[in-house]
């Protein structure tokens, strides 16, 4: 099967990009996969896709590139196909309108996958007859403006399928949009097995990771840790990530005299070895459209204490089994959740083991299989043969195979083995 992803900028850094590569890399084991990036602003993508995934762009923003499009007159003219209420509208233009339309009118694929609302609009209205049209929503319906929601309601019925990252958001689309004949399905973000051994659960460290943004409410986590310190001064907290809240958090830490217990570590990439240094993870957000860091921490063998905020955490964590869900915005509840697992080593270790096994359901192999099943279900009978699953042996071997392969995937050493 030939699968073509359409992305805003596959060369940049961000959650949707990482997620799309995780899925594309996995699908490339069985299928012919390409990623088409509307924009290209640098020579090399920040995240490296699997070499079997073909990557190309439609509009070149590299000033030194021979195909530089920045001086094209149409790039100054406003877009009309790309919806004006979309968050990225200002970056789109008459030029992107035309390039995307040309791409979709000629696309040689069995399935075309859009990765944000504006691109899904292009996909729904401009894809040639034939390929399956699959729109992905990485944000949530509730966060779209009224204007965007109206536009999506008008064109999304022309999609074959719409995927959300949570069941809660899938329900919202089914309830609030009339999408007859459109398969609306929750497809969690794939998270690969870490390339490091899981945490052994003995370190007295709580770990959190994410942008230092107001929605993450790290101020609550710092305050909750003040309570933790009073009972267990031997435990400490590391918060990984950068962002505008940094100075504010720094002042809060200093004001409360927590500078020996709470550390702002800055951004870390890759993050897996940092999770593996902890024994417990914390998420204190007021909103998580999915909750990628929760899955990442669990895949590294950490139980997560998370606020039960919309939409993702409650669908990832089985409360009291492989982690804890606590009240949103509630410092005392966050502290109690942390202390419960800090005080009880046995219970924490038990939850850690369950977090490790439960989070395997987010392995790219499993998520890709769900996509394959969906593509098959949507493909007219008779057309299925020959399209799907040349082989499908990676499910059980996935975790160890991926880890082992990752460690040896170092290519050649200075010997110019060019492919």
């Amino acid at each position: 099967m030939h699968i073509s992803f359409l992305m805003h900028n596959a060369y940049a850094i961000g959650g949707t990009i990482r997620t799309t590569y995780n899925l594309a890399d996995q699908l490339a084991e069985q299928h012919d996969v390409e990623v088409v990036s509307v924009f290209r602003h640098r020579d090399e993508p920040v995240f490296t896709p699997d070499p079997r995934v073909r990557l190309r762009h439609l509009v070149d923003l590299r000033k030194d590139a021979p195909g530089y499009d920045g001086d094209h007159p149409d790039i100054k003219r406003p877009a009309t196909s790309f919806p004006s209420h979309e968050g990225r509208y200002e970056q789109y233009s008459a030029l992107t309108d035309r390039r995307i339309a040309e791409h979709l009118a000629a696309v040689e694929a069995d399935v075309v996958v859009g990765t944000r609302p504006g691109l899904n609009v292009h996909l729904a209205t401009q894809t040639r007859r034939g390929p399956l049209r699959v729109g992905q929503e990485h944000l949530t319906l509730g966060t779209h403006s009224a204007g965007l929601t109206r536009r999506l309601r008008a064109v999304y019925p022309r999609l074959d399928a719409l995927t959300t990252t949570t069941e809660a958001d899938a329900r919202a689309y089914r309830d609030r949009m009339r999408l007859p004949g459109v398969r609306v399905e929750a497809m969690p973000n794939p998270v690969p097995a870490p390339r490091v051994a899981p945490a052994d659960g003995t370190g007295k460290w709580v770990v959190a990771a994410g942008r230092l943004a107001p929605v993450k409410r790290y101020d609550l986590l710092v305050k909750a840790f003040d309570t933790v310190r009073a009972e267990r001064p031997d435990w400490r907290l590391r918060i990984y990530g950068g962002g505008k809240q940094k100075d504010k958090l720094r002042r809060l830490i200093d004001r409360r005299g927590l500078y020996n217990h709470v550390f702002l570590m800055g951004p870390a990439h890759p993050i897996e070895p940092e999770w593996a240094k902890g024994s417990l993870a914390a998420v204190t957000s007021t909103f998580e459209s999915f909750g990628m860091t929760i899955v990442e921490a669990m895949r590294c063998g950490l139980p997560v204490v998370s606020t039960d905020c919309p939409h993702g955490p409650g669908e990832i964590i089985d409360d009291g089994v492989d982690g804890r869900l606590v009240g949103v915005g509630d410092v005392d509840a966050i502290a109690a959740g942390l202390l419960e697992l800090i005080h009880d080593d046995g219970r924490r270790q038990e939850m850690a083991a369950r977090a490790l096994s439960a989070s395997a359901r987010f392995d790219p192999a499993r998520i890709a299989e769900r996509y394959e099943d969906m593509f098959a279900a949507l493909t007219p009978r008779g057309a299925v043969a020959g399209l799907l699953r040349r082989a499908r042996g990676s499910l059980f071997g996935g975790v160890h195979a991926a880890r082992d392969a990752g460690r040896s995937a170092l290519g050649s050493l200075g010997k110019g083995r060019t492919a």
């Binding site: 993508p45 070499p51 020996n260 392969a405 040896s408 170092l410 050493l413 200075g414």
Partner: protein, 289 residues
Amino acid sequence: MTTAADTGTPPGTTPATTTKTTEDGTARMAAPRADCTADSAGGLTFDVCDHGAPEAAHLVLVHRTGGDEVRLPLTPVSHQRLRASLPMSVTLPEGRWDAYVQVAGEEPVRLAPGLNDLRSLVDRAPSGARGYVAVRIPYATKHGNLTVRSWLREPHAEAGDLLVADGELTVHGRLYGTGFTAEADAEIRRRAAGGPALRPELTVSGDDFTLRIGYDELGAGEWDLWLRPGGPEGPEVRLARLLDDVADKKPIFTYPVTRVPGAAGGELAAQPCYTLDNDLSVSVSLRAV
């Protein structure tokens, strides 16, 4: 455009060595990567991919300023994987050591960092029984290369928790590689040449120690903290924070600023901080009002 060339990478992984294609269409290899793992004794192993050639390969560490070299043989450990070990028994003088891989008969190639698994360094408590403490922390330079930062302290005074309160700094720490005598003393020295040395209050309990420094004794300038565990005739030991996985302490271990009335009127701002070498200092500056 990135080519979908087959680099012989096993399926399902991100190739750690990527093929870059230049504008004229020729391909070249990006820097090879090394995964670093630290053991509980502080030794490091470096894993790099097998280049498939029969020639011997070495991991070469080059001291950034001195130019000294430490060559570690790369030996196969598994399918397509070579490993070099840097055990604690190999002495690595203090400094920054840039990591290269060299195949016999070829130029060394600078290594890029892969996955660093440094969990065993996080709460490290060495014995100090040999009279010294050695620390090696691999890190990514700002240019994206792999370098190993090495410390070799003989003996060593590790700075732990700091407390800033009531115009005073209290430093809790632990001495490694020697013991305190009855003559034990501490000094805080102004870094500027010929600056004075003051005697902070030192309390000792076994190898643990506590220093108390009144900020009002310090004038503007950078002040470095030292221990004299054997008294004036014994070794001088610089206070430093070395025993964890953080290569550069300065941006992460930060402490509140305290306002202190200056001797000549005006106001001073005092703040404990770590130097680029992770040594502990107190920075005192005139506050611009």
